[in-house]
Amino acid sequence: MLYAASPPTFRSDGAIDSDTGYSLIEWDASGPATLAIAPPGAPSRELYSGSNEAFFISGLADGTYRLTLRDASGQEAPPLELRVAHQSVTQALWLVALGAIVFLATVAAILRGARDD
């Protein structure tokens, strides 16, 4: 009798949180597996099918995504939640403003050149 291969599993213990919209999804599987993602309120779509054991996902908008993993025999891993909450746009814009001021001051100092000599 053949031993039944163990079902694939995600390597992350609990849900993954991301404030950048990207994350590396890793799993263990004894053969090829199929990774799929279900965006909030939308049907699941396949991301990858093959023998790699990792997939780099990026560019996700805010929301909670459900990742599923299935091997060739149809065995499924417990689904993984990926929660994306981007950082505050307000904070980002303040930093852009501060950066712009410091940069323009530097440019001005260089282009103005030597003074009082």
Binding site: G59, A92, L93, V96, G99, V102, T106, G113
Partner: protein, 474 residues
């Protein structure tokens, strides 16, 4: 760790590695024969022309980070990520007017350390040396490690061998040929890198039109196209200021300002910046095509090579191998040369043996280059992955040096108190924010705090610096 298949077989990898190693070392030995003394060795006789000058500015700034990290940045941070990366060219563009001034204020200067010592005194000089050595050595270590890792991923050559060969080759030709060898090879390397990027870009576009890439991103990775993608827009000015700090303080760039022929420095840095500007976009956009081309990416730092190998097959893999090798060599050699000159001039000559003859200094510089190579090799061998991330701590350190340097070159009222306080307060505030708020604030806060302190000190100072003090005779 997921095992990814190497793109080339190791035998072909070794053949390519051997061919380029022989070429660089041969040219280094050949060009090194013109060097009679320390000035020839360290500054190529202060006579570099426009073509070689522009090429070396661009090539040195194109590191393995530019050709490999740009696609990773694009995949993580999207269109803003590529544009944020391109802003690093402002470092070269803004250094252009400064280089001309450096050349005329310090006709006999050798290093950026000379400037700190003569302009702000020994305490500021000491702080500068600590900051710049931390930055230069971590940059060197991170590139040598990247070399081993990339050659391993591309061709299956083991990490230890790949890292040792690339470092050994660079040490050998830099030691023998000095700055002339570095700049000569930089010209060839920059032509190869730029041509390679153009060929790869056209090949990718022939497989998938931009409209399709855009449609795929809209459907699957919408944040990458978002104009208000928070993580990406926060990166813009932090990156920009990091780049400014890197270029303004480091002896890699100052030694070039001293080495370029009179009247060439400004033009060469400006052209170098213009040549560099599109590189992160042209090299990075291929990552955005990974979705439309159905290339699965098991590790974000391998996205560039994976897309290229999918589109161009074996030829593409060879191309990427050559581009990576050239990008690494063109930066490692410059950093070895400039750091060894800094240690020779600022530590050996100024602190240990002021009476050393020019001939003796050249020999010392060669041994220091070898020593740096051995040190880097020993640090890289255990392959401690976290070491490369230490480079990011340098952001606050280099950001804090921007204003002391700029005002030191242009304002007679800039003071030693301003420079020392600016460097220490800026670096401390930047590092604190880096750890308390996030990496995207490090260089930004450091530059801002340092700027306020330096400007305030200059405003309330009655002292006026005498520029003639910078013209120390050699």
């Amino acid at each position: 760790m997921t095992k990814t298949q190497a793109l080339l077989d190791p035998t072909l990898g070794w053949v390519l590695l051997a061919a380029f190693s022989v070429l660089w070392v041969g040219l280094g030995i050949y060009w090194g024969r013109r060097n009679k003394n320390f000035e020839d060795h360290a500054l190529a006789g202060r006579n570099i022309g426009l073509a070689l000058g522009s090429a070396t500015a661009a090539a040195t700034w194109i590191t393995s980070n530019t050709t490999m990290l740009a696609p990773q940045f694009a995949l993580q941070l999207g269109i803003w990520g590529m544009l944020a990366y391109s802003t690093a060219s402002f470092g070269l563009l803004l250094f252009a007017p400064m280089a001309g001034r450096i050349r005329s204020l310090m006709p006999n200067g050798y290093t950026s350390g000379d400037f700190f010592r003569l302009r702000y005194g020994r305490v500021a000089w000491g702080i500068f040396l600590v900051f710049t050595l931390f930055y230069s050595l971590t940059w060197l270590v991170s590139m040598a490690m990247a070399g081993g890792i990339l050659l391993n991923a591309l061709s299956g050559i083991s990490y230890a061998w790949g890292m040792s060969v690339i470092l050994g080759v660079c040490v050998l030709y830099t030691m023998r040929g000095g700055l002339a060898a570095v700049i000569g090879t930089d010209f060839i390397q920059s032509m190869i890198i730029l041509a390679g990027i153009v060929i790869v870009g056209i090949a990718v576009l022939s497989q998938v039109p931009v409209a399709e890439i855009h449609a795929n991103l809209t459907a699957e990775r919408p944040a990458l196209l978002d104009v208000l993608f928070p993580a990406a827009i926060m990166a813009i000015f932090n990156n920009l200021l990091f780049g400014l700090g890197e270029v303004f303080h480091n002896n890699v760039w100052w030694s070039r300002a001293f080495a370029f022929r009179k009247g060439v420095a400004g033009k060469a840095f400006a052209l170098g910046g213009l040549i560099w500007f599109p590189v992160p976009i042209a090299a990075g956009f291929i990552a955005l095509a990974s979705g439309a081309l159905n290339v699965p990416v098991p590790a974000s730092d391998m996205v560039g090579p994976l897309v290229v190998a999918t589109v161009l097959g074996k030829a593409g893999a060879i191309g990427i191998f050559v581009i990576v090798f050239c990008s690494l060599a063109s930066s490692i050699d410059s950093l070895l040369a400039a750091t060894s000159d800094l240690l020779t001039e600022d530590v050996y000559r100024r602190m240990i043996k002021p009476a050393a003859t020019p001939d003796r200094l050249k020999t010392v510089a060669q041994w220091v280059t070898l020593g740096l190579g051995v040190f880097t090799w020993a640090v890289c061998l255990p392959r401690i992955g976290t070491l490369a991330t230490v480079l990011f701590f340098a952001g606050p350190l280099v950001g804090a040096m921007i204003w002391p340097i700029v005002t030191g070159l242009y304002w007679r009222s800039a003071t030693t108190t301003g420079a020392i306080g600016g460097m220490l307060l800026g670096a401390a505030a930047g590092l604190a924010c880096y750890f308390l708020i996030g990496w995207y604030t490090g260089a930004l806060v450091a530059t801002a705090v340092s700027m306020v302190w330096v400007v305030a000190c200059a405003r309330f100072s009655a002292a006026r610096f005498d520029w003639a003090k910078l013209k120390e005779s050699s």
